[in-house]
């Protein structure tokens, strides 16, 4: 089922929680809402669910305008961060509850609950109460409850954030699998970008109630259109430096008081055409430690990440995060040379925060 959202706005008194949001979600698509805390993800989701009434805008499921429909008339399933299982019911009754409300026969209920429970691997836990289940098991029951009525649209509100890291990884895979197998259109709210990047077909990045971008994970990562997206997507985050760009004998070059680097990206003209200072962005993984480089700085902090060391280098007044090989055994206080991959630089207009390239 397609979901079409136009101009969706929600105000709580003076607070504009969601500000004219436009989204067009294709049938069977898995869309993640990504954004910092308080940016309006949950509010949007609850409007789609029918819990909140939009202040303005139109929501369509397929061809039907659903603005006036009650939650129970929308045929959706939702999984909450708190699981929201009914504590006075067994896992079985929890999962069967949507069916009971639909007036489905006891027999049919039984068959469908068993089927869902088997898919979720909780068949043996059905007569337990939520308080007798572990967090991961509760999560599965909640998922089962959302799936059992075969909804047209699945909503997830940070469903994994209460689980430990390992379980989160497993559940991530399972949810993605299920969604793909069943082909249910899904909206998945998260502020964990790894989750969004790995699971979603497309990601809607929100900031302060506004949609910043709606793009594939690859598009967001490789071609960040705004300074916010460039800084928000990717971990460790992108480095930003204010520079002047010019053309010299060896080609286009970006300079400031502390550093000077050449760049060879495809859209060089657009960058050079810009008057005045620009903000240059470079991801830590696109910086190589190279003692032959002219850009030299003092290592301020070394953070081992396992496969790499994250080093914090001060070049004059400029701070740079870079990844280095732990075998180099870089210590705080060392002086290192850094070389930027000239093809991977991003340029932004500091006035409009828009990319000069994309």
């Amino acid at each position: 089922m397609q979901v079409d959202i136009q101009n969706l706005t929600k105000k709580f008194g003076n607070v504009v929680a969601v500000d004219s949001l436009n989204l067009d979600i294709k049938s069977g698509e898995f869309v993640a809402f990504l954004g910092p805390s308080g940016c309006g993800k949950t509010t949007t989701l609850l409007m789609v669910a029918g819990i909140y009434k939009p202040t303005d805008g139109i929501m369509r499921f397929g061809d039907v305008v659903v603005n006036q429909l009650q939650p129970r008339e929308r045929n959706i399933g939702m999984v909450f961060q708190s699981y929201a299982l009914y504590p006075h019911m067994t896992a079985y009754s929890n999962i069967a509850y949507p069916l009971k409300l639909k007036g489905i026969s006891k027999n049919e209920q039984n068959i469908r609950v068993q089927r869902v429970a088997d898919v979720m691997g909780i068949g043996h836990l059905l007569d337990r109460r939520p308080s007798q289940l572990s967090g991961g098991q509760q999560q599965r029951v909640a998922l089962g409850r959302a799936l059992v009525k075969e909804p047209d649209l699945l909503l997830f509100d940070e469903p994994l954030s209460n689980l430990d890291a390992r379980l989160r990884l497993t559940m991530r895979g399972e949810i993605k699998h299920l969604q793909r197998d069943l082909g249910i259109t899904s909206i998945y709210v998260t502020h964990d970008q790894i989750e969004a990047l790995t699971m979603a077909d497309r990601i809607a990045v929100m900031n302060q109630g506004k949609l910043e971008a709606f793009d594939t994970p690859e598009g967001l990562y490789e071609r960040p259109k705004t300074l916010f997206i460039a800084g928000f997507v990717g971990n460790p985050p992108m480095n930003f430096v204010d520079v002047e760009v010019s053309q010299n004998g060896a080609g286009p070059v970006a300079t400031n008081n502390d550093l000077k680097t050449h760049f060879t990206i495809d859209q060089v003209e657009k960058v050079l055409a810009h008057k005045g200072p620009v903000t240059m962005g470079i991801r830590p993984e696109d910086i190589v430690v190279d003692d032959g480089s002219d850009i030299r700085g003092e290592v301020y902090l070394v953070e081992p990440l396992g496969r790499d060391d994250l080093i914090d280098v001060r070049i004059g007044d400029t701070r740079m995060l870079a990844l280095s090989d732990p075998k180099l055994k870089i210590q705080p206080g060392d002086t290192v040379g850094l070389r930027f991959n000239p093809e991977r630089l991003q340029f932004y207009d500091p006035q409009t925060n828009q990319s000069l390239v994309w």
């Binding site: 669910a49 009650q70 129970r72 929308r74 939702m78 009914y86 504590p87 006075h88 308080s131």
Partner: protein, 523 residues
């Protein structure tokens, strides 16, 4: 960061053993402080309680028992406190410690007895009497002996007189003895008596005579030895329980007295005694009100009274639960104009004492009484009216309580239910209400008890009717027109207590749940 910081790996160090001198000094200091404190407590207990209760004519012997109990428990407390503060000392030199404790306790008891002798209270307390002995006869109370020079002799009462009444109140032996005991020194009782078949009236001046109650003093010392021996045997683990029991003892004794008193003609402390003061005198007379007989004269519709009490309680419970849960839900979950105002209004209403509203309520009830049909059910002088007012008084608290419980339930729960396909009503009844069951139970119990025990409202707004509710009945029993049979009052009180006790026995699990602050099964 290293973890080899020596201060972090070193285990807790044992405190070095105290020198015996220091330990003894601390022990003595504790004992002295405690003795002073306990003396104070027992004195306050005796004086204040005695004064307070004498105002309502409860037997003084009862308060004496409680005060004495405080003194008896003193040695226990001493041993316990000293043990808590110097465990090792008690372990190694238990005999010595017990010895010291006993000595101090002995001293305390002696001081206490001395104080009683000085102030003429307790064992040295006075008793009012007319100095004659009597026994129950067919026509009345027969005087069998008269003390020479006593009040009875001075008034001119002779052996063989048969007392039938005091003023116009017919008395049996129990009532007569009670009347004398409860009169003040110097009060005049007008005995109506039969002498040689002729009716006479003779005023007798009650005098107070002091006699030392040696039993109580001996008992005190015996109790000391017993407790000291017990103290020797107390394992350390029991100490908190012993402490608890010591302090709860007066409470237990109170209940014990209540039960014993209802089955006795009179009580001497906790002992049931007959009218002559000898052990015995067990009787079911105090419970005769259950058959509709109140004392020798009065008829009483006890079941009607009970039904009234029950009706107020049940109506109140049902309406309060229904209205408070829904109002609480609305206040917790919905936004409507005037919500804040409503909230603060209920809070203000709750803080109004009922007494200040009696007259306005009277006017309201009067007016309701003028409405046809409804007026007969909820107007002035009806059970319905009383229930209505009780509901109104209970609702503010109930609504707040319920709102608090609803506030504690996550929004996600009902959002989830609504997405699952439930209407708002179904969500309320099937998902939300079951989760605040402990709260409903608590409010239900509070309302039921409030309705069952209510006195002020029925006493004010059900006038002139013979059937009110149980608390009002008890007040009527203690009226000033006739001598009060306290044991009967105790019996009615105990009767009133029965449903409450049952409620607590059966709802204990839920109540404990509430007080432990957890909603069961929440994830």
């Amino acid at each position: 960061m290293t973890v080899t910081d020596p201060t972090m790996v070193a285990g807790p160090r044992k405190a070095p053993p105290l020198a015996l001198g220091t330990a003894l000094w601390r022990l003595l200091r504790d004992i002295v402080l405690l003795a002073v404190a306990m003396l104070g407590v027992s004195w306050v207990f005796r004086e204040i309680l005695a004064n307070a209760t004498s105002a309502v004519n409860v037997e003084e012997s009862f308060t004496t028992v409680i005060a004495d109990t405080m003194i008896f428990t003193l040695p226990f407390a001493l041993v316990i406190v000293t043990a808590l503060r110097s465990r090792s000392l008690l372990k190694n030199r238990r005999g010595l410690i017990i010895g010291i404790t006993m000595l101090v306790a002995l001293a305390v008891q002696t001081i206490s007895v001395g104080q009683q002798a000085l102030t003429q209270t307790g064992a040295y307390g006075t008793q009012t009497s007319v100095q004659f002995t009597t026994e129950q006869a067919d026509e009345g109370v027969l005087v069998t002996a008269i003390e020479a020079g006593g009040a009875a002799e001075q008034a001119g009462i002779l052996v063989g007189d048969v007392i039938t009444a005091i003023r116009r109140d017919v008395v049996d032996k129990a009532a007569l003895d009670t009347a004398i005991l409860q009169s003040d020194d110097g009060a005049v009782l007008r005995f109506r008596l039969l002498r040689d078949g002729e009716e006479q009236q003779i005023p007798v001046t009650v005098t107070s005579i002091s006699g030392v109650n040696t039993t109580s003093i001996y008992m005190g010392y015996v109790a000391l030895f017993v407790t000291a021996i017990l103290a020797l045997a107390i394992p350390f683990g029991w100490i908190p329980y012993v402490l608890l029991i010591s302090f709860l003892m007066p409470l237990f004794l109170g209940y014990a007295w209540l039960i014993i008193a209802t089955f006795s003609q009179r009580t001497e402390g906790l002992l049931p005694v007959d009218t002559t003061g000898n052990f015995g005198g067990l009787t079911l007379d105090n419970w005769s009100f259950l058959s509709g007989q109140m004392g020798a004269r009065n008829q009483l519709d006890i079941w009607g009274v009970t039904l009234n009490s029950a009706m107020i309680a049940v109506v109140m419970t049902v309406i309060v639960l229904l209205v408070a849960s829904m109002a609480g839900y609305a206040l917790s979950r919905m936004n409507f104009p005037g919500r804040r105002g409503f909230l603060s209004m209920t809070l203000i209403l709750h803080s109004f004492p009922a007494v200040t509203l009696l007259i306005p309520i009277f006017i309201v009830l009067q007016n309701i009484g003028h409405i046809p049909l409804i007026g007969d059910l909820f107007g002035f002088n009806t059970i319905g009216g009383v229930a209505l007012i009780m509901v109104a008084f209970e609702l503010p608290l109930g609504i707040w309580l319920m709102k608090g419980f609803f506030d504690g339930i996550s929004w996600d729960m009902e959002r989830s239910a609504m997405i699952d396909g439930a209407t708002r009503w179904r969500t309320f009844f099937e998902i939300i209400l079951p989760q605040i069951r402990p709260g409903l139970l608590a409010l239900g119990i509070f309302s039921f008890l409030g309705g069952w025990n209510t006195y002020l409202i029925p006493a004010t707004f059900m006038v002139g009717t013979r059937t009110s509710n149980l608390p009002v009945l008890i007040r009527d029993l203690t009226g000033e027109m006739q001598p009060v049979n306290w044991n009967q009052v105790a019996a009615v009180g105990l009767y009133q207590l029965i449903p409450i006790l049952l409620l607590f026995v059966f709802a204990q699990e839920y109540l404990l749940n509430i007080y432990a602050g957890g909603t069961k099964g929440s994830s």
